[in-house]
Amino acid sequence: MQSSPNSKPTTLIIRTIAAWSVALLLFFPLLFLAVTAFKTEGQAIAVPSLWVFTPTLENFVEVQARSNYLHYVWNSVVTSVVSTILGLLIAAPAAYSMAFSPTKRTKDILMWMLSTKMMPAVGALAPIYVMAKTAGLLDTKFSLIVVFTMSNLPIMVWMLYSHFKDIPHEILEASRMDGAGLWDEFRYVLLPLGMGGLASTGLLCLVLAWNEAFWALNLGSANAGTLATLVASYSSPEGLFWAKLSAASLMAIAPIIVFGWFSQKQLVQGLTFGAVK
């Protein structure tokens, strides 16, 4: 369904304007956040809002000085990157197995795995919290990495599966005919062909882990806190910290604005549990 039957140029213009206005409306809060980050606190609460001003970096400096901002950035980077790599290492073989040696139960297992992603995190909060506490792992990057990996695993398996399924089996069979061993098969056939799938799944998981706030807020605080924790800590006292809060927030969303652009398809796919391909 591309063009509708009786669209005249004027209707098309009206529709285009409507579509762009909605986009502006949706993007406005983010734009506002980004602009406020470069204002002084005084300018930030000035009414009507200033759109022309001399940008300042003082908020970023202040956030760094006050709460050691880079520490949280580092935690966010470590937890999301490590949990993504770990997840790929566990999920890729499973997806490979289901894609290339499917059994009668494969579809059921996949659906079952996906269904678990719909469960509310609060259902697992008490046991995980108690376990982390007993093991002395509260507020450690380790516990966050484990939880991020586990909670993203079903989506990773499923996304990788749908990528691997598209690799033609004939190629693998041909390589076996030529006497390729398991390692050769992996190294020269599967890895190059599966690279795209691994990359896009990894990207999606980076985004999900970076955004993850529930576990970050509940299991981490000072030591292992991620950017989400930092932003949350800024928003609790209802003081006039808008510019600083915006600066802290901007840094937390900037990477996703970039990565999100490239991973929109995966994001929709992942968040709809495969209903949209």
Partner: protein
């Protein structure tokens, strides 16, 4: 000779490898989800207060839960939020999808913008929302300064209206995402039928109402399931925007569960509320997934 042994070794590995490598993911999912649900279920029938306590008390916690005023508030709020969120997101998402499906200029640029609110953590973007909704700083003050002195927008701090600010933010966050679901559906609509309808002189509205929308039934169902489970899980939105307040005006099941488990030292009651949430979500998704798998089998 030696090559044959190596080959058969390889074959053995090839045969068992699939099951072997599937095992970790399978086990992790099993433990992470079911193990913890069982644990939560056990806590919900135990005497746990501040710390887990394994003395069995039957359904006491559930009885206590239903008598708790905050839980009633949370359920009422979930009903208001859930219904408005699903209906508005669905309608707006469909509208945006139809809009984008008209060969709009710059569609490739607009799509990610519609999706951004969903791609970003609401704990972070909630900041900007608090700004707008704050009567002393945002929309209300702007209107006052522009000379509209009687303009009043204090929903964020008004206990009767605060839950609607959560709806606004939720709609902002998810409609672009629902749009993407519908857009994918629209792109899959049968072209032949559309041509036939055009030849019969159907208007654009008729074409959509009679031919296109009925074909999107599956998308409507998926959108409903996805939105419904997000509504029940809603936590970030409320925590970032109102923190459950003012008072307990925007308490929802997830914030209730959190505060009873961790700040009010009623772990048993908190676990009971978590079990109710789990069961509600299961009641929505199990039939859906069951239907989906059956369909996949028939393919």
């Amino acid at each position: 000779m030696s090559t044959t042994t190596v080959r058969s070794g390889g074959d053995w590995l090839r045969q068992f490898l699939p099951r072997l490598v599937l095992a970790p993911s399978f086990a992790i999912t099993l433990v992470f989800v079911y193990g913890f649900i069982i644990y939560t279920g056990y806590i919900s029938v135990s005497k746990s207060k501040m710390l887990p306590n394994l003395d069995f008390v039957g359904l006491d916690n559930y009885r206590k839960l239903w008598k708790t005023l905050n839980w009633q508030v949370a359920l009422d709020n979930l009903a208001i939020f859930g219904i408005l969120y699903i209906v508005i997101c669905g309608a707006l998402g469909l509208f945006l999808a139809i809009l984008l499906d008209q060969k709009i200029r710059g569609e490739g640029f607009l799509r990610p913008i519609y999706l951004y609110p969903m791609a970003l953590s609401f704990v972070v973007t909630g900041t900007a929302w608090k700004w707008f909704l704050n009567p002393g700083l945002g929309l209300e003050k702007t209107m006052h300064d522009w000379g509209w002195a009687s303009f009043k927008f204090d929903w964020l701090i008004n206990p009767d209206m605060a839950i609607y600010t959560v709806v606004i933010a939720g709609v902002w966050q998810s409609s672009g995402f629902v749009m993407a679901m519908f857009l994918a559906g629209l792109r899959g609509v049968d072209e032949e039928q559309l041509k036939a309808a055009q030849l019969d002189g159907a208007s654009t509205f008729q074409t959509y109402w009679r031919i296109i929308i009925p074909q999107l039934r599956a998308v409507f169902l998926s959108a409903f399931v996805v939105l419904a489970h997000m509504a029940i899980k809603a936590y970030d939105l409320v925590v970032a925007l109102t923190g459950g307040g003012p008072g307990n005006a925007t308490e929802v099941p997830a914030t209730f569960m959190y505060s009873y488990t961790f700040t009010r030292n009623q772990m048993g009651v908190g676990a009971a509320s978590a079990m109710i949430m789990l069961m509600t979500i299961a009641a929505i998704i199990v039939p859906y997934l069951y239907a989906e798998t059956r369909e996949a089998r028939h393919e």
